[in-house]
Every structure is written in structure tokens, then in C-alpha cells.
Symmetry: C2
Subunit: 616 residues, 2 copies
């Protein structure tokens, strides 16, 4: 007797077991097989074409907006895999979302269209973001209107408001408020536990994933089978419920989606757990959020669903598939909220659908820790403005509770990926250090008119992206800092071979004649010139090149005795990539070093000054 039929016995089943057993085994094989094929396709795309497309993408976009231009984050290959991998991943029935990948996809497209533009986040972008959103909303709306009559298949079904629960009653009492505070606090603990477990799982997975593409696929396949078993197996634990009377919709559900899946139940009955598992995640959330359905779910059903989704959500994130976190967290939170609401029963007069919404808010607050955005997202999803104060309250409580345990899930991932994210505030120990303390050498500087061989050597042996240019006699009275020259600009200049035999100023006219404005622009596709593209012969090596025309004459500088905390704020607020540290006293070389993002990272500083470790 296999597991499936054991499960079948547990369920209050009235069909003959023999035929059912066979029928359901076939159904399960078809279900799990389809999932497996789709999962393998998604994993193969990710593993072989664009490993950067795995996961949510929000940590990467967040890092990009912080000023970290990591390779291949926004490359066209990532875009391709993100789109198709996400489609396969969602279709494969994984407990994952498409919202994060959507954000990443949008960022990739924007990067592709806006070749070479810098996109560090600053408040001036808010208005443009708003503009884009308005255009999208109106366009989407227009398509929706056009498609309403069924011209475009499923597109256009369902409006812009996904889970409309605006009909919920709007009054609540003091016991309700206490219940909501309690819900938020527990939700915060669950949320931070989620982050903790996701982090542990990601560390374990990274060991497996590092072994190569086949291992990535194998891991994905395992999780796919686990998910299929849960989705198909667990509903057998649920009892069949007679359909309620006086419904507007069909019961059991006909066709694709609906609140009342028949599953193994006899006619006129439905399986409430199957209604949650064997639906799209969007429909499952809609069912959980729906109001006036207080008795539709057994407490045991909600408990099983919550436990399964919480667990599956944690083990799914990290497989080689584009996978968002919003949907798993909302699903787990909504079932948690509805469960709490059902447990409280009549003590609390609030609708169970509202409890589900608040549960989702508490989980979102506990994992993501974004208050304002989550609040707006929930408002837009549910169109439930009168409940906004409660949602805000729950978010604040859960965020505050969770902040006591660990960091937000995206911050955790940014750290785990080793992205040098700069926080808005300086760390406390930075106040005890000065800029000169963390400068790490050796510093390579160029003269205003430099020998080609020296430049070639520097570009070859270092990976520096910026080099200070120092003017020396006869071009100035004493050595002085002329500015900063970028590796990419040096490469373009060397490629153009505007060399002179003697150490003389050529001036900008020559450079303007040879190069167009776009020659020095940043290549959007990440396909800029490389050192290997240069073609410099022995003769060229002995010649000179005037660096003044490509030097940034106004680099931001700090004195070596500047508080490191203040230097960090300067670096972050201005979105710098290089910060020149200059000496305080005269009579020394005009530049001491260059601070980059990495020099402000805790690992670097605490490595140099281990005594601050215990303060942290």
C-alpha cells in the first residue's frame, strides 16, 4: 500500500479505493511530470545561460541603485533568462513569486534602452518614475478595455486591483485592536525566522550550486518533486465539505479557478485544502483574502497549508530559477492570519478575510522590513483604504519586532552576495577613525603627460578603475593634484593613439578632433573596451600621451584627517566611485590615496582595526 492510498484513507473518502488509487496515481504522475519538465527547463536556462537571473533580482537592483554596477546583473542574457525562466518557474508550480523577477526584468529592459545612463537612485528620479507608472497604468488600462470582450485569451481578465476586498466592514473595537497587535507581533517573529531560515538554506544551497550546472538542475528537480508531492498529497488530509447553500459561484468549481475544488470529493462536496494548493497563487491569495467566507476553511486546513507554504517558500528560494519572495510570504502570511482569525473565533469580530490581509502585512513587515512600499502595495492590491490604519499598525509592529532579531531579507542577500552596499548612515566605529586610516596602497599615480608604457603597465597589473593624475614641473611649480582619470577613458585614449614623441601638452583640441562625444560614454551592454583590445607596439610604448583632456579636474577630495564617518556620508550621498584623500600638511605628495566603496565596507575596516569588532 503506497503513500498516496494511505493518505486517501486518512481523507474521509467515499469512492472505491482501488479505482481511485489508479486514477490518482496517473493524475499525480501527469501533474508532477509537467512540473518537472518546466522546472528543469527553468533551471537549465539559469544554470547554463545566465546564473545572475536566479533568485528574486531585487537585491541586485537595490545594489545597483546604491551604485554597485556588478557584472551581468542587467545584461541582455539575464533579461532573456529572467523572462522565460520566470514563466517556466511559475508554471512549474513552485512556491515562488513573479514580482521580484518582474522588477529585475524592468531594470534590465531600462538598462538596455538607456545605454550608458547612470541610474543611481536619487530623489530627482521620483517624478520620472511616477511618469512611467502613469503611462503604464493608462496603457494597461487601454489594453484591458480592448481585451475585456475576450479577444486576447486570459489577458484582461481581472482588473488592476487583484484582491478587491473593499466591501469589508470598517469598524473595529478594542479587543479587535489587541488581536491585531498580537497578530503583528507573532507575524514579526515568524518573519524574522523566515529570514533566518532562508539565509541558512541559501548557504547550504550555495555549496551545492557551486559544484556546477548539473547540480543546480538536480537541486531544482528535487524541490520540484517535493513541491508536487506536497501540493498533491496534502489535500488528502482534508475532509470533504458539503457545498454551502445560496452561492453565486459553482460548487464544486468548474474549470480553472474557484473557491471550491472537488479533488477526491463526491459531487456536492469540496476539498478546502485542494482549493488552496491546486490553484494559482494569485487565486489562493484571493480566496484567503475574501470576506464573508468565515466558515469555508477548517482550522486544520489552514494550519497544514500555512506550515507547508512556509516550509516550501524557504526551501524554494535559492534554487536556480527566477523566484520572487512576495507571493510565498503573502501566501504564508495570509494563511497565518486566517488561522489566527479562526482560532480567535468569536472573541474577535473582524472578518477572517481581513485577518488574512493583516497576516500577510505582518509577514511582509517581518521579512522585507519595507513599511511604506508594502503598505502601498497592499493598498493597491486590495483597494481597502479604510483598513489602511490597521495595515500600517501591523506593519510597524512586525517590522519593529523582527528588527530585534535580524536584518531584512533583501539586506541579508545583498551581504551574502558580497555586494558592497553602502548604508545611508555611517557605522559608529567610523567616528573614531579618519580617512587616512583606511587608505590601502600602493597608490599608482600618473603624470599629466605620461609615458605610454607606464600607463600600459598600470592598466595591466592593477584592476583599478581610477588613477590620480599629478601635475609636476615643468607643467606646474610644484607637484599638484590635477584630477582623476578613469580606466575606461584611458583605454579609449590609448586605442586612439594620440601619442607624442616628447613630453609635451597636446591640449584638448587634438582629442576633440579624434574622438566623438560618445566614444567616452559608458557602454550600456557592459561591452566597453578591454585591455586586451589595445594594440600598442614597442615604438608606441616609448611615446607620451597628454592625459589632461580626459582627466576629471574636479574630483571630490577629503583631507586625511577627515572623520571617516563624514567621508562615508560624503561618499554615499554623492554617489561617488572614487574619493581622493589629500594630505593635511604641505611638502608631501599631493595625494595620499583613493577611497573606493570597498574601503568603507565593515570587513575591510574591521580587518584593519580588529579592536572595533567588539564595539559593533
Amino acid at each position: 500500500m503506497n503513500t498516496t492510498s494511505q493518505l486517501a484513507l486518512v481523507g474521509a473518502n467515499v469512492c472505491p479505493i482501488e479505482s481511485l488509487d489508479y486514477e490518482h496515481r496517473e493524475a499525480f504522475l501527469a501533474y508532477a511530470g509537467c512540473n518537472l519538465i518546466l522546472a528543469t527547463a527553468a533551471a537549465a536556462l539559469c544554470a547554463y545561460i545566465a546564473p545572475a537571473a536566479a533568485g528574486s533580482g531585487i537585491p541586485e537592483v537595490k545594489a545597483y541603485l546604491n551604485g554597485i554596477d556588478a557584472p551581468s546583473i542587467l545584461a541582455p542574457s539575464t533579461l532573456f533568462v529572467k523572462i522565460f525562466g520566470s514563466i517556466c518557474g511559475v508554471s512549474a508550480g513552485f512556491v515562488l513569486g513573479k514580482e521580484g523577477p518582474m522588477v529585475h526584468t524592468g531594470a534590465c529592459i531600462a538598462n538596455f534602452l538607456g545605454q550608458g545612463g547612470s541610474r543611481r537612485w536619487r530623489s530627482a528620479l521620483l517624478w520620472r518614475t511616477f511618469f512611467t507608472t502613469a503611462v503604464v497604468a493608462v496603457t494597461l488600462r487601454a489594453f484591458g478595455e480592448y481585451c475585456r470582450s475576450g479577444k486576447c485569451g486570459l489577458f484582461g481578465e481581472g482588473g488592476l486591483i487583484m484582491f478587491d476586498i473593499s466591501s469589508t466592514a470598517t469598524s473595529y473595537s478594542t479587543p479587535d485592536l489587541i488581536a491585531v497587535v498580537f497578530l503583528g507581533a507573532i507575524g514579526g517573529i515568524f518573519g524574522s525566522l523566515y529570514n533566518f531560515l532562508v539565509d541558512k538554506v541559501l548557504h547550504t544551497y550555495s555549496i551545492i550550486n557551486e559544484k556546477g550546472a548539473p547540480f543546480k538542475i538536480l537541486l531544482t528537480v528535487t524541490i520540484s518533486l517535493l513541491t508536487s508531492c506536497c501540493s498533491y498529497g496534502l489535500p488528502w488530509l482534508a475532509k470533504c465539505t458539503p457545498c454551502p447553500l445560496g452561492l453565486h459561484e459553482h460548487c464544486p468549481t468548474l474549470g480553472r479557478s474557484g473557491n471550491f475544488k472537488k479533488f477526491q470529493c463526491p459531487q456536492g462536496h469540496y476539498n478546502d485544502l485542494a482549493s488552496l494548493f491546486l490553484n494559482t497563487s494569485g487565486d489562493a491569495i484571493r480566496i484567503l483574502f475574501s470576506s464573508g467566507t468565515d466558515n469555508e476553511f477548517y482550522i486544520s486546513t489552514l494550519f497544514v497549508f500555512f506550515a507547508a507554504i512556509y516550509f516550501l517558500g524557504i526551501v524554494t528560494y535559492g534554487i536556480a530559477v527566477p523566484s520572487g519572495l512576495f507571493i510565498p510570504v503573502i501566501l504564508a502570511g495570509a494563511s497565518y492570519g486566517r488561522l489566527v482569525g479562526s482560532l480567535l473565533g468569536t472573541i474577535c469580530g473582524l472578518d477572517k478575510g481581513l485577518f488574512a490581509l493583516l497576516g500577510a502585512a505582518s509577514f511582509l513587515g517581518g521579512t522585507m522590513r519595507m513599511t511604506v512600499s508594502v503598505c502601498v502595495i497592499l493598498l493597491e492590491l486590495t483597494n481597502d483604504l479604510p483598513m489602511l490604519p490597521l495595515v500600517m499598525l501591523v506593519l510597524l509592529i512586525s517590522k519593529t519586532v523582527a528588527d530585534g532579531f535580524n536584518r531584512g531579507v533583501y539586506d541579508q542577500m545583498v551581504i551574502m552576495k558580497g555586494l558592497p552596499y553602502m548604508e545611508a548612515h555611517a557605522e559608529p566605529y567610523m567616528r573614531n577613525l579618519v580617512a587616512g586610516d583606511v587608505v590601502s596602497g600602493p597608490l599608482i599615480t600618473f603624470s599629466g603627460v605620461e609615458k605610454v608604457a607606464n600607463i600600459m603597465h598600470a592598466l595591466n597589473v592593477t584592476g583599478h578603475n581610477g588613477f590620480p593624475v599629478v601635475d609636476e614641473p615643468p607643467f606646474s611649480d610644484a607637484p599638484e593634484l590635477c584630477g582623476l582619470v578613469l580606466r575606461s577613458h584611458l583605454l579609449v585614449l590609448l586605442k586612439g593613439k594620440t601619442f607624442t614623441k616628447d613630453r609635451v601638452l597636446t591640449g584638448p583640441a587634438e582629442v576633440y578632433r579624434r574622438f566623438g562625444a560618445f566614444d567616452f560614454a559608458k557602454a550600456g551592454s557592459g561591452k566597453g573596451l578591454k585591455f586586451e583590445d589595445l594594440d600598442i607596439d614597442e615604438e608606441d610604448m616609448e611615446m607620451y600621451v597628454d592625459l589632461h583632456p580626459v582627466t576629471n579636474r574636479s574630483p571630490y577630495t577629503v583631507v586625511e584627517t577627515m572623520s571617516l564617518a563624514k567621508a562615508a556620508v560624503l561618499f554615499r550621498e554623492l554617489g561617488l566611485r572614487h574619493l581622493c584623500v589629500v594630505p593635511k600638511t604641505p611638502g608631501r605628495p599631493p595625494i595620499i590615496g583613493i577611497l573606493t566603496r570597498h574601503d568603507f565596507m565593515p570587513e575591510h575596516i574591521l580587518g584593519l582595526f580588529p579592536q572595533f569588532n567588539h564595539q559593533n
Copy 2:
């Protein structure tokens, strides 16, 4: 025959003119008299106690968050007058809002509670703002619940959503979209015209107001009489309309507020213009926004109301009364929108209430130019999420159109008030200048250990708030910039008299012994030490004081050759008050000058370099 009875003849009046004439003259006198008394009270409060409380207060708060701590903006007297002046002003029937004054009131209270804290806007405040809002929303809600049963008078009537129009139909067609685009564009023109006229009126009024408090009161009285005449006189122009059948509410309206004011009409009729004029502005907006009331207003009524409110709104702002702009602009915009909707008639299928909402959005976009905030405010006021795309579209169009003509109304006022507001971006001509170009002298520096007499002299003859401290031999090998000392800290130090007879370092220990941490903190009430509070005798004058303990050793610096545009970005992004300009070449004094906010103002720079004027 007086004006009132002439107007009475114009109206389709059926009562005997004689008795009506007398009755209405008495009513008008009572109405105008009450308004006049309240207006005079508001103006007297403003003129004699806190002139800074006049107007909206949003430009001042905006400037404060930009880093401008102008005197008395957030003083307790301003708070007092803002609250009571606003109550009198709104009750006096002026066409003005209470939203701006509310914002200012909140800022005053926060400043009072958070004595000495710095409140420059930075993104780290967003989360705290959200927290505050959540607490307010939940508290307000609780009071609302408690008061619903009528325990607190009018408080608690009406929910948090002021103008609920969520029932409006949600579909629109292409002709509708074209109508909306047209509405937005014209609304943008009206909005920018509003700004232009408000600016002109403010300039005129400032001439009157400068003559003294009695003139301020006289001006307010004039506008009050004008407003009373319009509100009471113009409804006589409207025809009486028979009450529609099958209404839920009384017609004509009984009591305080309602859609159907009887005014001079016979029983069973109402005066639509009186319903708009003789209501609170909130109710008038609610009536205009209400859906399913397409035939409630004559086109002529809407036109008269729009023209009157547009005109009264412009002439009211600038009188010595706390007066917000939101309500007048929304009122004018809503009547404009409804007017356009009525003119389009059956060409456009949209509800006239929705037209009113979009008209209000277009006016707000055209005057304030804030897109995201206005959008959120309108959403919260109306709870009409499905119409969000249309509102966004209208806002964008009107803002874009209006930006072609002039600045936003608040920006205009900031400029008119002479507040040195720093824009987020640098002006184009700044790229052609370097930091050293705009340094204006003479520079006063102190030695690390300075003679008391020198400090006293500098504090007395200059108004500088920061002084560079330069270490000289024997305290350093060569003159070098030690840091920056603030006027307020110098005053505390001098008041404490930690002087020495000789030029020696006393070190920080002595200062820490004498002073507590709060002695140097910024006084929240603006009542810090003044130069006049010092009590230094002849003997003290010849002594020395060690400035090192109170010197900021890490001031932000730029080299004199730094691009002025980059220096401006640095200054603004870091929220600086002083930026030290240091020399590029050695062998010169270690500091060239200090840049303050005023040095970045266009007036200052274009005064020094008139050749850039035409580029601007």
C-alpha cells in the same frame, strides 16, 4: 433701488420684493458682520503677535526642511496664531484652506517638543514619518469610533475619507481619454495663470502690508467684505430649480449642510449656486465631486462659481490670515472640471463628479506641481483607486503644461520671501565657475588659541555663524586649517570664561569640567545666547582662550579649483551650512574662504558674473 434688490430681480423670484428686500438686507448684514468680526480677529492676531503665521506656511516648512532656519518660522507665538488665526479665518468664510496651516502647526509643535533637534529632510526620516502617521491614523480612528454616537458634537461625523466617490463607474473610452487630456492641458494653463496672478497680488499686498499692522487689518477687512458680497450676492443670479424627485435627502436642505440650499427660492425649489457658496468648502467640494448628480447644476452656475472662486482665491492669499491654498485650488478645479464635463455633455460618457475630481487634479498639478503627493492626497480624499491612472495622467499633463510657463506656487513664494532655497540640481552656469570664484571676503580666521578681544571684535562686527580656526606655530609646523568653530559655541565658551593669561593649550578636560553636553546644544526655542548676553571686562579682553575643544576638526572642504556645480551638489546633498574652500597650491594661507548657502544663490553669483545672466 440697491444692488441687492437689483440682483433679486435678476433671479426668478416669486416672493413680494418689498418684504424680501428687508429680510435679506438684515440677513446679509448679519452674515457679513460675523465674517467681518472673525476676519478682523484673525488679522489682528497675525499683524500684532506673529506676522510669520500669515499665509500657508508650506513654503516656510519646505525651506526649513531644505536647511533654512529662518527666525520665528516655528516659534511658539507662530504656533498660537496659526491655530487660532486659522480657526477665525476659516470661520470668516474666506476662500482659503486649513491644510497648509495644519502642516505648519504640526511643524511648530514638533519643533517645540523636539527642542534643538535638526530636522533637515533626509530619506531616513521617511520611516519615522510613516510611524507617526500610523499612530495618528489609529488614534483618530479610535476617537472617531468613540464619538460616532454623537458624544463629541460635530467631531467624528464624516469618516477619514472626505469625499468618497468609490462608486463611480470604472470604464472609459477613447473619446473620454481625449476629453481628459484636454481637461488636463487647459487646467495646467489655468494653474500657471493662478500662480502668475497670485505672485502679482502678493507683490501688491506686500506694499500695503509693509505700511504697518493697521493696513494689514484694513486689507483683510476689505477682502472679507468682498467675499461676503460675492457669497451672498452671486446666488441671486441663479434660477430656482424644482427639487428632483426620489431623493434620499431633504430638498430643500434642512439645517447645516446639504446639496439643496433654499436661499430665496419657494418651497420645493433650491438654488444651486447658493448650495455651493453658502456651504463649508468641504461640503462644496463633496457636492461637486458627487456622482450621479449630472443635472443638479446649471452650466451658468458652475461658470459663475468657478470665476468667483478663482478670483477670490487669488485675492485672498496674501492677507494677514493663516490661509492654505489646497482648498481654493481644489474648489476652483472641481468647478472647472464639472463645467467642462457639463459643456461636453453627452459627447463624453464620464460622470460629472469624476470630471470635477480630474479638474481638481489638473488645477493642483498646474499650481503646486507636486505629482506624487497630490495623487496620494486625492486618492485618500476620494478612495477612488480605479480612477488613479486617469488622475495620474491629468496631473502629469497639467504639470508639464504649467512648467512651460512658470514655477510652482510654493517655489515662487520661497523666492518672494527671499529664503535661500537650494535646488537639488546645480544651475548650468555653475559648471563654468569654480568654488574660488564666488568666495566673498573678507575672511576672518581665529588662531587655535585666540585672544578674547579678537573674538569679541569678530562676533561684534560680523554676523558670521562660522569661523575657520587656523593652527599656527608653535602649535603646528606651518599654518594649517584646524577646523571650524560656530558662533553659538564661541558665545557659550566666552560666557563660561575659561580663559588663560598666556597663549597655552588648556585641552578639552577643562571644557568638559565646566560645561555639560547640553550647554552647546542648539536651543529649540531660538532663545540661544546672544552677543549682548556676554559680560567680558577689560581684563578678560587681554586673556586667551583655547578654541580647540569647541572646533569641528572635520569640516567639509573643497579645493578652490573645484567646479562650483559640484560644490553646490556637495553642499546641498550633505545639508551643510559652511563649506571651507582651501587653496590648491601650497605656500598660501590654509583657507581661502567659506561658502554659505547665500554664496550659491543665483542673485549672488549672477551679481558677481553678470555675463551668465543671458544664459539663464
